[in-house]
C-alpha cells in the first residue's frame, strides 16, 4: 500500500512537473518582489503570451502528428508584414500601398491567415508528396518565406522602412479590451478552445494522434495520411498567419525581422508542455502552460531586474529538464 502511494507521488511529480516549476518560479519572483502578484502583471503576461500561444497551438498540431515545422517564425514575420501593410491609415505618411483605402480590421487578419494557409499547404505537399523530411522541407520553406518577406518589405515605396500608422480598429485587436479583458487574450482563448475541440472531440483529432503515434499502423487502419498531413500543416499555417496579424496589432508596427526564432520558442513550449518529440502525445493545457512558463521567466526576471542573459540560461535548463522528464515518462510506461 505504502509503496503504491509513493509510486503515485513520483508519477504525480513527473506528470505535473511543468505546473510545479511554474508555481515555484512565481513564488520565487514574488518573494523577491511582492508586487509581482497583481492583476495587472497577470494581464501583461497573458497579453505578451497571446501571440506565442497562437503560434504554439499551430505548432502543436504538427508535433502531435509526428512531424516538424521550422518555418513558423518566418511565417509569423511575413504575415505581420502583410497584415500591417493592409491595415494602414488612409493618411499614413509612408503608405505601403499608396491609394489603398482604410480597410476594416478583419481584412488584414484574413489576408495574413490565407497567406499562412498557402504556405502551410506548400509545406504539406513538399513533406507528403515530394517526401522531403519535414525538418529539411520546413527549413527550406523558412528561408524562402524570409526571402519573400524581405522582398515584400523592400518593395518601393516602402524600401525596408518599418511599417506604421495602423488603423485604430486594427490596433485594438492587440491593445484594446472589452470589459477589462484584452481582446488579444480573448482571441488566444478562442483559438485554444477551437484547437481543444478539434483534437479531443472530432475524428480528425483522433486521426492526427493516430498518425503521430504510429504512422504505419494508422496507414494500415485506413487513415488517409496525406490528408492528415495537409490538414495539420494548413491549420498550423492559419495559426501562424493569425499570430502574425496579432503581433503587428500588438506592437502597432511590422518589419521583416518580426517572428524570428518564434518557431523554436513554440517547439520548446510544446515539448516543455508535455508534447512528445516522437509524436502522438500532447494537450492544449500543457502547451498553454509551456508558453506561460517562458513568458513568466522573461517577464519576471526583467521585473526583478536580472540580466536577459540569465533568462536564456534558465530557459535552456527548463527545456533540458522537460525533455529528460519526457523520456522518463514514456520509458516507464513501456
Amino acid at each position: 500500500m505504502t509503496t503504491k502511494k509513493k509510486f503515485n507521488g513520483k508519477q504525480f511529480l513527473v506528470n505535473y512537473a511543468i505546473y510545479l516549476i511554474l508555481l515555484a518560479l512565481i513564488i520565487v519572483i514574488t518573494v523577491i518582489s511582492p508586487k509581482f502578484l497583481s492583476l495587472s502583471v497577470f494581464k501583461d503576461i497573458l497579453m505578451q503570451s497571446s501571440v506565442r500561444i497562437v503560434v504554439a497551438m499551430g505548432c502543436m498540431f504538427i508535433i502531435i502528428s509526428g512531424s516538424a515545422d521550422l518555418s513558423g517564425g518566418r511565417m509569423v514575420g511575413l504575415s505581420s508584414l502583410i497584415a500591417a501593410s493592409l491595415a494602414q491609415q488612409a493618411t499614413a505618411g509612408l503608405k505601403f500601398w499608396p491609394g489603398l483605402p482604410e480597410l476594416p480590421a478583419f481584412v488584414p487578419v484574413l489576408a495574413s491567415m490565407v497567406v499562412g494557409v498557402c504556405f502551410g499547404i506548400f509545406n504539406g505537399l513538399v513533406v507528403s508528396k515530394l517526401r522531403v523530411p519535414a525538418f529539411l522541407a520546413t527549413l527550406g520553406s523558412q528561408m524562402m518565406i524570409f526571402g519573400f518577406s524581405s522582398l515584400y518589405f523592400n518593395k518601393a515605396p516602402n524600401n525596408s522602412q518599418p511599417l506604421g500608422s495602423l488603423t485604430s480598429g486594427f490596433k485594438a485587436l492587440g491593445g484594446g479590451s472589452i470589459a477589462g479583458v484584452p481582446i488579444i487574450v480573448m482571441i488566444a482563448v478562442v483559438v485554444m478552445i477551437i484547437v481543444w475541440i478539434l483534437l479531443t472531440k472530432t475524428c480528425l483529432g483522433k486521426e492526427i494522434f493516430a498518425v503521430g503515434g504510429n504512422l504505419e499502423a494508422a496507414r494500415v487502419s485506413g487513415i488517409n495520411v496525406f490528408k492528415i498531413q495537409m490538414i495539420t500543416y494548413s491549420i498550423a499555417g492559419a495559426c501562424y498567419g493569425l499570430a502574425g496579424a496579432l503581433e503587428a496589432a500588438r506592437t502597432a508596427s511590422a518589419t521583416s525581422a518580426y517572428g524570428q526564432s518564434y518557431e523554436l520558442d513554440a517547439i520548446a513550449s510544446c515539448i516543455v508542455g508535455g508534447c512528445s518529440v516522437a509524436g502522438g502525445v500532447g494537450t492544449v493545457g500543457g502547451v498553454f502552460a509551456g508558453v506561460i512558463i517562458f513568458n513568466v521567466i522573461s517577464y519576471g526576471l526583467t521585473f526583478i531586474g536580472i540580466s536577459p542573459y540569465w533568462q536564456n540560461v534558465v530557459k535552456g535548463l527548463i527545456i533540458i529538464g522537460a525533455v529528460a522528464l519526457d523520456v522518463r515518462k514514456y520509458s516507464s510506461k513501456k
Binding site: S150, S160, E247, R250, S253, S307
Partner: protein, 356 residues
C-alpha cells in the same frame, strides 16, 4: 543505429543547406548590378553590406546603386553579409575573385581590420570602410589606399542626451519621484555592438556634462527590436512605474516599443508625459515626434552615406585625393582619408529635416 546515422546525415545536409543559402544570396546580390549609365564603366566596386534587411542599410544601398546607375563611371555590385562574419568573409573573397577595383566594406568583423587591410593590399584593391568602426592610425599606415566613410556614432548619443538635458532643465515636474536625479531606463541594442555602446555612453555623458545627476533604473537588452522593448518596458513599468523619469533607447524601433508600453500603462495623451529618445529618425519615429510622444531622435542620413561613398570612388578614379571641395556634399566633414557624416538632431521643431 541506422536511424541515428540518417539523422546525422540529415543534419549535415541541413547545415550545408544553410551554408549554400548564404553563398546563394551573395550571388543573387551580385546580380543587382547597376551599370549602363551615360558611358562605359571604367571600374567595378564590390559592396558588402552587413544586412540588406536593415532599414538604414536598405536606404544607403538604394542611394549608392542609384548614384552608380545615374553616373555610370563605376559599376556597383553588392552582397549581403546577413549579419554574419563568415558570410562577409566569403563575399569579400568572391569580390576579389571577380577582380573588383574598389571594395566597400560595411564591416562587422571588427577584430580583423588589420587582416582585411593586409588582404586588400595583396590584391591591390582600394578599400573603403563604410558606416563602421574606423581603422586605427597604425592600420591606416599599413596601406595607402584605405578610406573610411562613416557617421560619428558618438554624435548620436550626445544629441539625444542633450535633448533630454534640455527637457529636464525646462520641466521641473520631470523629476517624478522628486529625488533630484534623472532616473532612466536604458534600452540597449545588441551587447557589445559599437553603436549601442557609444550611444548609451555618450547620451549619459551629455547629461553628466549638463550637470544632471542620473540614476539607472534598469538597463536591458532588446536587440533593436520593437516587440522585445515593448515586453520588457511593460515589465519594468509594473515593477517601478513611479521611479522612471525617462527612457533612452539606442534606436527608434526600441523607443517606439517603449512608447507602446508606456501608453498601455496610462502615459501620454491624457496621462503623464515621459520623455523617450531614440536614434535613426525612421518614418515611424518622426511620426511619433509629430504626435508628441517621442522627444528626440538623431538622424544618420543614409542618402548622404550612399552618395558620399560613390562620390569618393569617382574622386579616386580621377586620381585625386578627397577634400572638402571635391567631395562637396552637405553634412559631411572630410579629414584626410576620413569622410565623417554628421548626425542631425530631430525634434518637434525640425521634423521636416528628417525627410531625405
Amino acid at each position: 543505429m541506422k536511424k541515428a546515422l540518417s539523422l546525422l546525415v540529415a543534419f549535415a545536409m541541413a547545415l550545408s543547406l544553410v551554408a549554400c543559402g548564404g553563398s546563394d544570396s551573395s550571388a543573387a546580390g551580385g546580380s543587382s548590378a547597376a551599370a549602363s549609365g551615360s558611358g562605359e564603366a571604367t571600374a567595378t566596386a564590390g559592396v558588402c553590406w552587413y544586412n540588406f534587411g536593415d532599414t538604414f542599410i536598405a536606404n544607403a544601398r538604394n542611394t549608392l546603386n542609384e548614384a552608380a546607375a545615374a553616373d555610370g563611371t563605376i559599376k556597383v555590385v553588392d552582397a549581403d553579409s546577413l549579419n554574419d562574419v563568415a558570410t562577409q568573409t566569403s563575399n569579400i573573397n568572391n569580390f576579389y575573385t571577380q577582380g573588383v577595383d574598389y571594395l566597400v566594406l560595411n564591416n562587422i568583423n571588427n577584430n580583423a581590420i588589420a587582416e582585411i587591410i593586409e588582404q586588400a593590399k595583396e590584391e591591390g584593391v582600394t578599400l573603403i570602410f563604410a558606416n563602421t568602426n574606423s581603422p586605427t592610425d597604425e592600420e591606416f599606415a599599413m596601406y595607402d589606399k584605405v578610406y573610411h566613410v562613416s557617421s560619428v556614432a558618438e554624435q548620436s548619443g550626445t544629441i539625444i542626451g542633450e535633448a533630454l538635458a534640455k527637457y529636464w532643465n525646462e520641466h521641473p515636474e520631470a523629476d517624478r519621484n522628486g529625488n533630484g536625479k534623472l532616473d532612466y531606463i536604458m534600452l540597449l541594442g545588441i551587447q557589445g555592438h559599437y553603436d549601442t555602446e557609444v550611444r548609451s555612453a555618450n547620451s549619459l555623458k551629455a547629461l553628466e556634462d549638463a550637470g544632471i545627476e542620473t540614476e539607472c533604473v534598469q538597463e536591458t537588452i532588446c536587440n533593436y527590436q520593437r516587440a522585445e522593448a515593448q515586453n520588457q518596458v511593460a515589465s519594468i513599468l509594473q515593477a517601478r512605474k513611479d521611479d522612471i523619469d525617462a527612457v533612452i533607447a539606442c534606436n527608434d524601433d526600441m523607443a517606439l516599443g517603449a512608447i507602446e508600453a508606456l501608453k498601455a500603462a496610462g502615459f501620454f495623451g491624457e496621462g503623464e508625459y515621459i520623455p523617450v529618445v531614440g536614434v535613426d529618425a525612421t518614418a515611424n519615429g518622426v511620426e511619433a515626434i509629430k504626435e508628441g510622444t517621442m522627444l528626440c531622435t538623431a538622424l544618420n542620413n543614409p542618402v548622404t552615406l550612399g552618395n558620399s561613398v560613390y562620390k569618393l570612388m569617382t574622386v579616386l578614379e580621377k586620381g585625386e585625393e578627397p577634400t572638402q571641395e571635391n567631395i562637396g556634399i552637405d553634412g559631411t566633414t572630410v579629414e584626410g582619408h576620413h569622410i565623417y557624416i554628421n548626425y542631425v538632431g530631430i525634434t518637434a521643431d525640425n521634423t521636416e529635416d528628417a525627410a531625405y
